[in-house]
Symmetry: C2
Subunit: 163 residues, 2 copies
């Protein structure tokens, strides 16, 4: 089992110059330096790389983690609600949930009130794995705080959260 998942390495918009080795010709990012999106993307890739590696040992992707978290916090919600909350296509959720169900982490129960809906919930194994994932995720978050410096971390979190 334990599907081989590999961390993402690339940035759509560009990468930190520090990655270039040696003195070399010193390539510049040009106009990319005046795009907030470039830096947001860079930070996002960096954070996700660490998060992917963090959850790798329990064979969970960030997407799977977020699915478990939202199901756990909203026991019995439907696939359409989950899709809307996570911003993924209903169609994509199908395979995602299928795999989690195959690993006995979640259950899909036909709703008695509305025969079209599946009520989603974690199995006991799912709850156990999510608890483990949250412990790992907390360590990841602590790592971020250390690397970004606590003041900057807090500033970024406050600014983005309240946006």
């Amino acid at each position: 089992m334990a599907r081989t998942r590999r961390p993402r390495k690339s940035l759509l918009l560009g990468r930190a110059e520090s990655t270039r080795r040696g003195p070399s010709p010193a390539i510049t990012l040009g106009a990319l330096n005046s795009h907030l999106g470039y830096f947001v993307r860079r930070l996002q890739i960096w954070v996700f790389q660490d998060f992917i590696r963090t959850l790798e040992r329990i064979d969970l992707s960030p997407a799977q983690y977020s699915v478990l978290v939202v199901i756990s916090a909203n026991r019995g919600l439907s696939q359409a609600e989950l899709a809307a909350t996570l911003g993924v296509e209903r169609a994509r959720l199908v395979r995602l949930l299928h795999r989690l169900e195959g690993r006995r982490l979640i259950q899909r129960l036909r709703s008695s009130a509305d025969g079209r809906r599946h009520a989603l919930r974690l199995t006991p194994q799912g709850q156990t794995l999510l608890a483990r994932a949250k412990t790992l995720a907390a360590r990841h978050e602590a790592r971020l705080i250390g690397r970004l410096r606590p003041e900057r971390y807090k500033m970024l979190l406050d600014a983005m959260r309240d946006f």
Copy 2:
């Protein structure tokens, strides 16, 4: 021509609750709320959506824009250097550059000093299109400043840039 490119809509980690319509069952994001990565991703998607729409009218993706920008700022650089700077695989650059070359926006010149390398540069058409793209990009950036509020925009940019 004008390939149909569609804006990305989904968020790996989740979406703003505000997206949910009506009072409804009020689904919560649970533990996602304590992850900086979740908010960074959310902001990144939001910024990129606007950027993608911005460049759509000149049939340019963010990746293509960043390629043109870096070539423009580093005339004559090699594909390997470009790949390292942008953090994309050398392999992926091939097709990307092939398309830009097909549209006569860039040129690949065999290096006389080292027969293995291709020296990259913009064609006059490429320079013209990039100039147009930069104008559009500046409007996009102005939109971000307005939506995020100038103080927050500056704070975020400073914090991420100097990280």
